[in-house]
Subunit: 296 residues, 2 copies
């Protein structure tokens, strides 16, 4: 199998205090990625602002943006200027009272190749997303680009093997996860360690189960709670890239913004799936109850 | 949450050359497990003999056994004698020309509580199981015992998130995998390392995705190829137990037979699922294509 190498860049960053500052930082990072030869740049979840879902406030809807809109125009121009694919993540205003957590993909010519609306929406203390985001209604549909067919999923989706599998079954060549996950500062270190390791492990598991490379980019930095009810979140960074056996190809450090570069050989999936042909043996005749909430 | 601790034992062993020798070794190990306070013993895949699927030979069907039969009677008596639950794994002869790779569960009173026929059947060089085993027809159904509801799956099943999920949706409290997996001695060390790590990782991923503890017991030792077409298999041992965040609770070494003991707090799943309620947010309205071979 001849190698088919794709250089990717993951922009692991902290919130810089304003949409303008965040987009400026992204433009700098994408320029650096392009100079380093990257042909695909993955941005973190909701990169234009803070992770505002720590509380429920109607004022936060002011952050939402239409798609297409100013931000998509800017990301499109950025992709075209550097001739690379960009996967972004926006707080989408679809209509009054109807918003989504939405990934957008721009090809190297600046064209908007597709949109993915986050399908699984969390709601836990500190991550109150059900207030802000309607569950996605575009399904688990990969997006075709000049660098390959991208299985873009977002954050909470990363815990669901179903999401990764559906992308693989639709021919995705890469799984990509913009995320914003971190620690409750009140948790003991042992719990923090388990959470971080679980987050990495379940995604590596998707790579293995589907014989696909996987990219996860995560926010970093501490964001204080917007009101007295919360303790803030320490976003844990630790962005990573794994190959189709779940093997680490690149890992970012935890505490700091980082531009993580990585070469992925897309031909490895073919090799790995020949020795581990999991798709061949799925028992689709016996999976019907996967469509039930619980088998009771 | 009050702890609900279950001590389990995994019998990681090599083939000892005959059914009688293997069963005698199992009887010794189960006695040791009972003395150490274990209430559940998990035996490895096809523990009564060598891993005969390295080649395709009709003579190997002589190894198959009826269920119920001599082996189930012996495992039942062993469970009753030590008042513990035993999960065994047999080459089942169901009818002439119809065989299965079958797990059997005996409760602490010796009663046969249930049977699981391996649903996903591999077929790769060295693991020619499609010749020997018809795919299971009992579905992904957990088995109730006095120590809890057991989600028993077998070897190749371990690569399938669907199998683990269906067991979790049916209320399984533990996932258990008797396995027989090893290295092709001709593979380079880097590939061996990736395979072992992928095997551990994908199963830890099932534990995380479902908030369940998971036990995997694997064969050890080298088994030469029965004919000149193969290179033999070095079974990699490395049996392990993880908790509901995929955290390691116990790990066996690679090269040697070992009785691996572990305490599992079954109440941890309740705690973990409260902070990570993945079952709540599954998009069962959008999972329909999981029942397709491929989305093309």
């Amino acid at each position: 199998m001849s190698p088919r190498v794709l250089r990717v860049a993951l922009v692991q960053d902290r919130d810089r205090g304003s949409r303008e500052a965040n987009l400026a930082a992204i433009e700098t990072a994408v320029g650096q990625a392009a100079s380093a030869g990257a042909r695909l740049v993955l941005l973190q979840e909701l990169h234009n602002g803070p992770y505002f879902c720590q509380h429920e406030s109607v004022d936060e809807f002011d952050r939402a943006e239409p798609i297409p809109g100013d931000s998509t125009a800017r990301l499109s121009a950025l992709a075209r200027a550097h001739a690379l694919v960009i996967v972004g993540s926006l707080f989408e205003r679809r209509a009054a009272g109807l918003h989504h957590n939405t990934a957008v993909v721009f090809d190297a010519d600046g064209s908007h190749r597709g949109t993915y609306r986050k399908m699984h929406i969390p709601d836990d203390p500190g991550f109150l997303e059900k207030f802000y985001f309607a569950p996605g209604d575009l399904g688990f549909t990969p997006i075709d680009t000049s660098v390959g067919r991208l299985g873009v999923l977002v954050c909470w989706d990363q815990w669901y093997p179903e999401a990764a599998r559906l992308m693989a079954l639709a021919g995705a060549e890469l799984l990509l996860y913009p995320t914003a996950i971190g620690w409750d500062p009140a948790d003991p270190q042992s719990e923090k360690d388990r959470q971080l390791d679980a987050w990495i492990t379940v995604q590596r598991g998707h790579a293995v189960a589907n014989g696909l490379p996987l990219l996860a980019v995560n926010r970093t930095g501490f964001e204080a709670a917007p009101d007295s009810s919360g303790r803030g979140i320490r976003f844990w960074g630790c962005s990573f890239v794994v190959g189709p056996q779940g093997e680490f190809l690149a890992r970012a450090g935890e505490p700091e913004p980082e531009l993580l570069l990585c070469d992925i050989d897309l031909a490895r999936s073919e090799t790995v799936r020949r020795i581990w042909p999991f798709l061949r043996d799925r028992r689709i005749d016996a999976y019907g109850d996967l469509l039930r909430r619980f088998r009771d």
